[in-house]
């Protein structure tokens, strides 16, 4: 079991949610004070450096036009941390390739960061959540098709070493793809893909041997996704790649009452996700079957469903894990059993107004008192050992 420290890098100093129509897409950036923003960026990067010192791995993500996440260019913090950390693996989960486009540029950025970090990069590719459609002005339909064509092109860029190749696909046309540098890790950095319900997507991830990650899902859903993955998993022979990953909110504390208070702070992330219907469900983002349910008033989005349930439900389901080290370790081991095992625990250990001191205390308690008690949980697939990069012929 590997454990990853994560914060979305929130900018929580915004008006009360009931005074805002949206915390994403339309929230005006006059509410962003660059001096506060500067402090926040440096603080979150410091916490990632502390994660490295504590023996944790690091996870980063990217969103746009959002107070919930001011990391709008994820290769930047990844590149900074490639220099400033020593041991942690650095996971980008992920590159919004379906919205951003530019698969070749992404392949170049990732190859550079992989070299600078001497092979510590894990590369996620994501379809992007619905609220990302408008900031990117990407067509809300064909998001899966763009995701997979983008991955195909980026991976060809990483693994072609004999000079330029051309690519004339459905979405991208490139004349002379020939990236310098090539990735440090061979044949390429481990690839991760996220998913939440689409079974065909899970099977595709498994058949490629990529790592499959899912966020904030009830444990029954998580189990069925992970079971589907394991049933179809094919080992691609890529070091560190493969297996399943789960992201809950995690807060480890010295006492139950502090754990409860910390948990409430982390819930800012769930509460802050306030957007109007046109941003939650742009036309063609979700399947036609889901949109038929939406028209019937039977589907309002998965995050909405979780939000409506409240704290007890989230604790019960493993979406939120909070407590003293004993309790956190026990809950993670129980979750491991509930989902048929998993390989990566991605922890949102900071959200909202949770300050530096309490964030670092929680991270430290986790690293020193919880991690040793879950590290032995065996991998659910057998990843290959890291190999030295081979020179291209």
């Amino acid at each position: 079991m590997r454990a990853w420290h994560f914060t979305e890098m929130p900018y929580p100093h915004i008006p009360p949610f009931d005074e805002l129509k949206n915390t994403r897409v339309t929230i005006p950036n006059r509410l962003f004070d660059p001096k506060i923003g500067a402090d926040l960026y440096n603080r979150y990067l410091d916490e990632h450096c502390i994660a490295d010192e504590l023996g944790l791995d690091i996870m980063l993500n990217e969103h746009h036009s959002s107070a919930s996440c001011i990391d709008s260019c994820v290769p930047l913090p990844a590149a900074i941390l490639a220099r400033q950390t020593k041991n942690a693996r650095i996971l980008i989960l992920g590159n919004p390739i379906a919205n951003r486009g530019e698969p070749v540029r992404i392949a170049e950025e990732m190859a550079m960061i992989d070299c600078i970090s001497r092979g510590r990069l894990d590369v996620g590719f994501v379809r992007g959540v619905p609220t990302e459609i408008n900031p990117a002005n990407s067509n809300p339909t064909m998001t899966n098709e763009r995701l997979w064509e983008g991955i195909d092109l980026a991976m060809r860029a990483w693994t072609t070493h004999d000079g330029p190749f051309n690519y004339e696909g459905r979405f991208w046309h490139k004349r002379a793809v020939n990236i310098w540098p090539r990735p440090y890790q061979q044949p390429h950095p481990p690839v991760w893909i996220t998913g939440s319900s689409d079974r065909e997507n899970v099977r595709k991830v498994a058949r490629h041997g990529f790592t499959f990650a899912t966020f904030l899902q009830p444990h029954e859903n998580t189990r069925s996704l992970f079971d589907e993955y394991r049933k179809h998993y094919v080992d691609a022979g890529v070091p560190h790649q493969g297996g399943t990953a789960f992201l809950p909110l995690v807060f480890t504390a010295d006492s139950d009452s502090e754990a409860e208070a910390g948990a409430q702070e982390l819930l800012w992330y769930i509460r802050s996700n306030k957007t109007e219907p046109q941003f939650k469900n742009p036309p063609g983002y979700a399947s036609i079957a889901l949109n038929v349910m939406a028209l019937q008033g039977k589907f309002g989005g998965r995050t909405e469903a979780v939000r409506a349930q409240g704290l007890d439900y989230m604790m019960e389901q493993g979406i939120l894990i909070a407590g003293t080290p004993d309790k956190v370790a026990a809950r993670i081991r129980k979750f491991y059993d509930q989902v048929g095992g998993f390989d990566h625990l991605m922890m949102m250990q900071q959200a909202g107004h949770l300050d530096h001191r309490r964030t670092v205390r929680s991270m430290t308690l986790f690293a020193k008192e919880v991690y040793p008690r879950i590290k032995d949980l065996p991998p659910t697939v057998a990843p290959k050992a890291a190999a030295e990069p081979a020179l291209a012929k």
């Binding site: 408008n134 002005n137 067509n139 809300p140 339909t141 064909m142 459905r170 109007e276 219907p277 046109q278 742009p282 036309p283 063609g284 036609i288 949109n291 038929v292 939406a294 028209l295 019937q296 008033g297």
Partner: protein, 263 residues
């Protein structure tokens, strides 16, 4: 609502990947009707009246209704060429063409490519052009505004725009959901216009009438006036007490304008 008839599905062009739903209503000389993105025309009262004088031919564009949606079709430019194949296959000659909203845009695209089969062209609150500055919102953003805001802009009387989806059968809802997806696929970017179209509209040589809802807040009569200026000899008729769908909100006033032009 009219029931689905398998005989309405027609293969268009040499490949079997493109199958269009084409329905016919009424009898008389043919009239080609290009429906809007909401597909409301087939069940609207104005159509019963029109069907007394014409055989109204209504093709659903790719991805709308029960028509297939091949990947290669990426926007109205492709749809227009494909619709000219429909015209050829049906042997339409010297027919009036009436297009609504998104269908009006397609009709305009068709006419710039080949207006030889068209007797008269009617465009009802069409999208398709942009004449203003980059930051000018000439076509209100139906995907950025909330559903309530869009309804308020689209209808003069918003109550007429209410649709009861909860009691609609699932096969009809599937068409609604797919229509919305297809509209976004073809209209997302460039947003509901083709930058080339305004440079091609001068090619339309047939008599052209633009009919516009006075209170259309999505594309206003001012936008209609800019459209009119780009089509030689075109006239603009404004229907009072109507929004983006004057044929639905004010069928009588709409038909009066339409008949006066076609007769």
């Amino acid at each position: 609502m009219q029931e689905h008839n398998p005989q309405d599905i027609h293969q268009i062009g040499p490949s079997d990947e493109l199958k269009l739903e084409i329905v016919r209503r009424g009898s008389g000389p043919p009239l080609l009707l290009m429906p809007g993105e909401d597909g409301l025309e087939r069940d609207a009262p104005f159509l019963d009246e029109l069907a007394k004088f014409y055989e109204v031919i209504i093709p659903s564009p790719p991805g709308f209704g029960r028509s297939s949606r091949p990947d290669w079709i990426t926007g109205p430019d492709d749809i227009a060429y494909m619709m000219l194949d429909v015209v050829d296959e049906l042997g339409l000659k010297n027919v009036p063409v009436v297009g609504f909203s998104f269908g009006g845009w397609i009709a305009a695209e068709m006419a710039t490519k080949d207006d030889g089969f068209i007797s008269k062209l009617v465009l009802v609150d069409p999208y398709g052009i942009k004449t203003g500055k980059p930051t000018e919102r000439e076509i209100q953003d139906v995907w950025l505004l909330s559903p309530d805001e869009v309804t308020a802009l689209k209808w003069h009387d918003a109550a007429k725009g209410k649709r009861d989806f909860k009691s609609m059968p699932e096969d009809k809802l599937t068409i609604v959901a797919r229509d919305r997806e297809t509209f976004a696929r073809f209209g997302w970017e460039p947003y509901l216009h083709n930058p080339k179209l305004k440079h091609r509209l001068h090619r339309i040589k047939v008599p052209t009438l633009l009919i516009w809802g006075e209170h259309d807040g999505i594309v206003t009569p001012k936008y209609g006036e800019a459209y009119r200026k780009l089509i030689p000899g075109a006239r603009l008729a404004v229907v009072p007490q109507a929004g983006h769908l004057p044929h639905i909100e004010q069928p009588q006033a709409f038909l009066t304008e339409l008949k006066r032009f076609l007769d």
